[in-house]
């Protein structure tokens, strides 16, 4: 399908189905039940799953294939956001020009940063990208206030020109839309005590993510992707095999920068505001965690990692001590207090602690990330079924 091999088509279709049915699958618990706070099927969070999925897919093209670890990719995300916001202010509240422009601007910006940073490799490359990202953050926060809005950031205003849109009704601002379909609009489906929300913005972002995922599969399987993996494996041999590694790494850097810009543009399309904190270095670190947690150099890993981290960030952090008291009310008083004291540091504001422990466990026991975990489970089942060739997995190292 679309020039993909059977295995890859199967994976793409599977991801498409998962993404399409996410509003159902992420809402397994009925409204009002004690478990309802584990429901992740609300538009805001689902949008974040796919947008950060795009960010991580792009990051993986650089880090997973070439091994160059960038600590500055949030800068490209931020630049993409500002670019999209300016399109919304100047041209139209239709998100399409904004998204296209965000990719282009992030591409040009990453070309400049990559051109300089790729003069060095290893830790020096990481530090250079980190320095660029922090410079961008500081500039956006202070000197470039006329463009970035400084501390307050940018939102669409009534006074913006928006030359392509007709003048809106007095005192109102047009909402971000896709040819008239508002990003915030949702269709709600009530089934018994279950409530499912189908949000226009989520489905737009999901379609964009599927396209981004498809492009990444094509890159992984292409001669270009082969050269990128060769850069990671043995750059010296590649040089002495007549291949110029510089343009290959720079192209990978720009492509991943454009993915980051796309994610930034989509963020603005979903939630029409942008601030400089989006470019802060912790945001760059987060995408590194997502990629490693999911599985570096794997196709689906970054999406899994992004979803896992965003789920914890939004769900674990909402659990507070009252909820814990509800859950453990059946225990005798003293024991209840004890259990809650044990669990409390890992929830609410302590969710980073849980993330840290999971991250450590994955890096130590599953160096291939969540994908390796999945493969091990799949192999357990395969071993029980005779006739299946276990070497299947070995022939394609980058699943």
């Amino acid at each position: 399908m679309f020039g993909l091999e059977y295995k890859d088509s199967r994976m793409l279709i599977l991801v498409a189905i998962l993404v399409a049915l996410a509003p159902f699958m992420l809402n397994p618990f009925p409204e009002g039940s004690g478990m309802a706070q584990f429901n992740a099927g609300y538009p805001d969070l689902m949008q974040r799953f796919v947008i950060f999925g795009i960010f991580a897919i792009g990051f993986n093209i650089l880090f997973g294939l070439t091994g160059y670890l960038s600590f500055g990719h949030a800068a490209f995300l931020g630049v993409g956001s500002y670019a999209a916001m300016w399109m919304m202010k100047l041209l139209t509240m239709n998100v399409v020009p904004g998204i296209i422009f965000s990719v282009l601007v992030a591409g040009v910006f990453s070309l400049a940063v990559g051109w300089i940073s790729l003069r060095r490799s290893g830790i020096y490359f990481s530090i250079l990208t980190l320095a660029f990202a922090q410079m961008s953050y500081s500039l956006a926060y202070s000197v470039l206030t006329p463009i970035t809005g400084g501390e307050t950031g940018l939102q669409p205003k009534v006074t913006d020109p928006r030359i392509l849109d007709g003048s809106p009704a007095e005192g109102t601002i047009a909402k971000a839309n896709f040819f008239g379909l508002e990003m915030g609009s949702s269709f709600e489906l009530q089934l018994g005590s279950w409530l499912f929300t189908f949000n226009a913005g989520y489905y737009l972002a999901a379609v964009v993510m599927l396209i981004a995922f498809y492009i990444s599969i094509r890159i992984f399987r292409s001669p270009f992707g082969l050269m990128l993996r060769a850069v990671k494996s043995n750059q010296q041999r590649l040089n002495y095999t007549g291949l110029n590694t510089k343009p290959y790494t720079l192209a990978a850097f720009v492509i991943s920068g454009m993915y980051a810009g796309l994610a930034g543009g989509l963020m603005v399309a979903m939630d029409t505001q942008v601030g400089a904190e989006r470019m802060f270095w912790t945001a760059s670190g987060e995408v590194v965690l997502m990629t490693i947690l999911g599985g570096v150099g794997t196709l689906i890993g970054p999406v899994l990692g992004a979803s896992a981290i965003k789920y914890m960030e939004n769900i674990l952090s909402k659990i507070n001590s009252d909820i814990l008291h509800q859950w453990f009310a059946f225990l005798p008083d003293g024991l209840e207090e004890f259990v809650i004291t044990l669990i409390y540091p890992f929830i609410g504001k302590g969710w980073h602690l849980t993330l840290g422990l999971i991250f450590m466990a994955v890096v130590i026991f599953l160096p291939g990330g969540l994908v390796e975990g999945g493969q091990r489970i799949a192999n357990l089942f395969k071993r029980k079924m005779p006739g299946k060739d276990a070497r299947d997995n070995k022939s394609q190292p980058t699943e």
């Binding site: 001669p223 291949l243 343009p247």
Partner: protein
């Protein structure tokens, strides 16, 4: 006029004169060995030929064109392939993928961003890579990760990768260093076969005299950064200067 002409090449590292005044001419379609004791400047000379080092003085001409100041990938594209002392291959990639990379480099040049074709559907490249693997007797290993090959097989693969580019000059840097006797003999047989079957010039840097005398047609002896003698293997064997350089013998002591 040889295919490779090295004239008056000198290279200094701080206070150490690694290469004094090297003149060397390698005849097309011959096997030329460069030998010498440790620290004689063999590796420095090789690095000056492939673009890793730029000599301070002198000139290096390949096929009438200067290679000085060119990057390693540019020199490779001119037709010089290099085999390293410890096999340099792409350990994370499969054997077949290892072999496809030089095939792409040969056909498409130093940079071709074709990101939208499936590499396995490029029949021309896959068939070429499979053909070379067959010549190297490695067909049944093509799905293995290259890192899991034995030392001898890694060497075979690396030599195969160089040959797949049909270079005019193949440079080998101590190709049997650290190998068991059986692997060494296999490598000698492979190189002999290459020499007999192809129109190719081979320059080989080697410590192991057994390897040198079974392959070379001309031998240059390097000592302290300058060539002592250049002659046929038979004449080199008994040459007093060579014995002196290797064994530290002087006329008096003898």
């Amino acid at each position: 006029m040889g295919i490779l002409e090295v004239k008056n090449v000198g290279k200094r590292f701080g206070g150490l004169q690694a290469l004094g005044d090297v003149n060397l001419s390698i005849t097309e379609n011959s096997v030329h060995a460069i030998i010498g004791p440790n620290g004689a400047g063999k590796s420095t000379l090789l690095n000056c030929l492939v673009g890793k080092l730029i000599p301070d003085t002198g000139s290096v001409m390949f096929d009438g064109k200067s290679v000085l100041g060119l990057k390693p990938f540019e020199i490779n594209q001119m037709g010089i392939s290099r085999v390293f002392q410890t096999p340099e291959i792409f350990g994370d990639l499969s054997v077949l993928e290892n072999m496809m990379i030089p095939c792409f480099a040969k056909r498409d040049g130093a940079f071709t961003p074709n990101a939208f074709i499936n590499m396995m559907k490029d029949r021309e490249i896959v068939e070429r890579a499979e053909h070379v693997l067959e010549e190297m007797n490695m067909s049944e290993k093509q799905q293995m990760p290259a890192a899991s090959l034995s030392r001898g097989d890694k060497r075979r693969l690396e030599i195969g990768m160089c040959l797949s580019q049909e270079p005019r000059l193949l440079l080998l840097d101590e190709p049997t260093a650290g190998m068991a006797r059986a692997d060494t003999n296999n490598t000698i047989d492979l190189l002999k076969q290459i020499k007999d079957e192809r129109e190719i010039t081979i320059a080989i840097i080697e410590h192991d005299m057994h390897v040198v005398f079974s392959l070379a047609e001309r031998i240059t002896v390097l000592a302290q950064g300058t060539p002592l003698v250049e002659d046929t293997p038979d004449n080199i064997k008994g040459h007093p200067k060579v014995r002196e350089a290797y064994l530290g013998e002087t006329q008096d002591a003898a």
